[in-house]
Homo-oligomer: 162 residues x 2
């Protein structure tokens, strides 16, 4: 099995098994504020077990290609949305689950103006902005209990820009 992953563009269809793409496409907006603003309504499947939604701000180092994917993690008790606070693309790494083990990791590259919401329990890489300032608002679960599982790969994958 190759350990090379080639990035591909983020689309709602391809990303559907892993989460929602939050952007201004794909549904009809509601015109508000006397038509000065369009509301693309309720785009994320927020899902929290024994906890509540919260908003945090993440400031992350940027990453470069080729990128060594050494581990993925997941949050069994809640969805997690990553909203870039700059008009830049970023990389989103996800993987399928096979009996509790992450398999088939994939790397998506967003367009500027897109955010994502990962479904509860989805294996994913750490935050990988491609541009400064690496600033994100994150909507995820606030609560007690163990909401983090990490899975280091025995052999790192190498992600290359598609």
């Amino acid at each position: 099995m190759s350990n090379i992953i080639i990035t591909r563009p983020l689309t709602a269809t391809d990303f559907a098994p892993y989460g929602n793409v939050l952007d201004c496409s794909g549904n009809s907006p509601i015109a508000i504020n006397q038509g000065d603003c369009n509301r693309f309504d309720d785009l994320a499947d927020l899902d929290f077990t024994d906890g509540r939604a919260g908003i945090s701000v993440f400031k992350s180092k940027t990453c470069n290609f080729p990128y060594d994917l050494k581990l993925v993690e997941r949050h069994p008790l809640g969805s997690q949305a990553f909203i870039p606070m700059s008009h830049h693309s970023f990389m989103i790494v996800v993987a399928d689950d096979q009996n509790g083990v992450p398999v088939n990791p994939q790397a998506f590259i967003s367009k500027a103006g897109q955010a994502v919401n990962l479904h509860k329990g989805t294996w994913h890489g750490v935050l990988t902005p491609l541009h400064e300032p690496g600033l994100f608002a994150v909507v995820d679960r606030i609560g007690t209990g163990d909401n983090l599982q990490e899975h280091p790969f025995k052999n790192a994958y190498q992600i290359q820009q598609g």
Copy 2:
């Protein structure tokens, strides 16, 4: 009473009666991802009556100074967070409540990298980005019931840049 409002910088202290400022200052972050990312945790007082949190995307026209403030609105059933999806400042207009009537409107200008969360029921102006693309993620209440009250001013206020 003058109908001129001069903008002032957004600070957590000055904004406290109206909501939260969501940024990377003012509290100690949690280091995550082997130290590559700082999490400024749980910054918003989310508060929803008979509903749930949702994430929507707003695409708004930008505004210019002097700005005519013709109305404010409020959402009696939920808090509302405005997260800019570009690294730009924006204007946030709020007002005090006096027996159901908005009084003492004020205008704050954020710094790039700041978002806000308005407390439930806070009188506020419509979204007023100062820069393209005018794109925001909004975390507010999803649910039925009347969650919008609008108050047009008899005489518009004029907002001038401070």
